[in-house]
Amino acid sequence: MAPDLSVTLGSMTLPNPLIAASGCFGYGLEYEPVVDLSTLGGVVSKGLFMKERQGHPPPRIVETPAGMINAIGLQGIGVHRFVKEKLPLLNKAGARTFVNVCGTTLDEYVEVCKVLSQADGVVAIELNISCPNIKEGGIQFGCSLTGTYDVVSAVKKATHLPVIPKLTPNVTDVASFARAAEDAGADAVSLVNTFLAMAIDVETRRPKISNVLGGLSGPAIRPIAVRMVWECYQLVKIPIIGMGGITDARDAIEFMLAGATAVQIGTQNFVDPFVWSKVLAGLTDYMTRHDVSKISDLIGTFDPTPPKPVHA
């Protein structure tokens, strides 16, 4: 019998745990020529405010060891154009669309979510309270326990859709933020967003990207992200969507063992846009080798017993 890859996130059941991460997959449609969107567990849109945004001037990215720093600045078309122009095409493609919602104020988060609640085809809201690249809004909520609690509760009151705050790793204790989100009624949490970072051109002594600071992503951050997922898993009961530098099935499984119910793949889309079918095949292979019939049986089954000594 084929292994069961489906996972349950609150009231949602996804055919598999692989979700495309916000900001790394355009509006999903950009990748339609190379990926059958219906084969993914879900697609998270680029972050959306009420209105269009131009984002930061280029250069917006710089490559770093096993990773990259970005400060795109949430360039986006705004929620109304998204609902009108993108959502119908995502529905047609069979995508399960999560929308990443941004706001400069608490009211804006609520208003954007109200618009999405009336749209056809949105499966969940991912609350972006963690983008490190814009001054106003977002991370100011995500870096304060009361801010996190307040924005999640306000949005929960405004929508029937599942609400999934995306947490920043740029705090001392990310698990306490997962707890604040849970207390406020969040249906799940996703983590981590990027790590605040910078890179200097030593020849010119100037920054390598125009915004000076940006967010670090890619394989370089994976061990820290895995640790943070595990910390959250021990403290909260709501499902966790884990992410940070996933490149293949082994990486995805590592997050699930640490406690993630589903995982997101971000930067690897830039490295290899054909990553999805490879990871799906890898998950099936792992389950066969380990005699696991349901992938959800792996969640949180990490065994902290110290490893046996390795002799060279």
């Binding site: 790394c24 950009e30 680029k46 280029p58 917006r60 990215i61 394989p219 054909f274």
Partner: protein, 280 residues
């Protein structure tokens, strides 16, 4: 048609100078599908350093002695870690090659003349364009500038296609048997544009194609505008994915009285109408 992602074997890596090489890749299907002006995303296969691929115009569509397409080449100039690694590759090494990508050059045909303007590594998209112009018997000129005559490459290739060459070097040095004007490539271009100012009967006698450093592109686009000639510009930007997913490679574009919008050069370019780009 969706792009292909090929693990392409390096067939040759011809070092043209201490900085430039032509990297030939066994990717026949990519070659068959490539239109002049399109690009590929390339990095050594199976490594995380570099993590991301880099964009390169397809330099040549390679053919064997029977005329069958065997692959593509890229014109690589060492500028950083990634291009250094590509410069050092040897035949048999493997690179990840995604493509072809992007909007190609719009073609023209006689009686319109094609004027290609290349600065340094900006020669890259013009070998394939020159072949297509020669095939359509379009009268064509390549204005080509480099720092020194030693960095003017593939001149015989263009001459054999019947492309007229106008060469410039910043140091005034001459290529073997060929005169080079001292200075920037935009000097002779402006002189030629003055002479070609269209009469009433020929409202657009010339199509200008440009690729090279940003200041050169700005000058070419503005000169073309001043002399009322259409102009297509191939831009280069730091690019993450090549597919429109990351929004790294944006350029400001303006249509008429609209405010400028930042558009992705990977999917809306790399070729743009010179008149719609906003220069800052």
């Amino acid at each position: 048609m969706p792009p292909l992602d090929i693990d392409a074997t390096v067939m040759a890596n011809a070092r043209l100078s201490r900085d430039y090489s032509v990297l030939s890749l066994a990717a026949p299907e990519v070659g068959r599908r490539t239109a002049p002006g399109q690009f590929v995303m390339v990095k050594p296969a199976g490594v995380t350093d570099p993590l991301l691929r880099r964009p390169f115009s397809v330099f040549e569509v390679l053919r064997n002695s029977d005329g069958e397409v065997t692959g593509v080449s890229i014109l690589n100039k060492r500028a950083g870690r990634s291009t250094n690694k590509l410069y050092e590759l040897e035949p048999g090494d493997v690179v990840s090659c995604l493509g072809p990508l992007g909007v190609p050059f719009r073609a023209v045909a006689a009686p319109v003349e094609a004027w290609m303007v290349a600065g340094g590594v900006g020669l890259a998209p013009f070998a394939t364009l020159a072949e297509s112009l020669a095939a359509s018997k379009t009268p064509s000129t390549l204005f080509y500038g480099a720092r020194t005559a030693a960095e003017l490459f593939h001149l015989e290739f263009f001459e054999q296609l019947g492309i007229k060459l106008v060469l410039t070097t910043e140091d005034g040095g001459h290529s073997v048997n060929r005169h080079c004007v001292k200075g920037r490539v935009t000097g002779p271009l402006e002189a030629a544009l003055k002479n070609a100012s269209p009469g009433d009967a020929a409202p657009s006698a010339v199509m200008v194609y440009a690729c090279g450093p940003e200041p050169m592109l700005e000058t070419v686009a503005k000169l073309a505008g001043r002399y009322n000639q259409p102009c297509q510009v191939s831009v280069e930007r730091v690019m993450g994915c090549g597919l429109g997913g990351c929004y790294s490679c944006v350029v400001p574009v303006k249509h008429g009285d609209e405010h400028a919008n930042l558009v992705r050069s990977c999917i809306s370019g790399p070729v743009f109408d010179g008149a719609e780009l906003v220069w800052d």
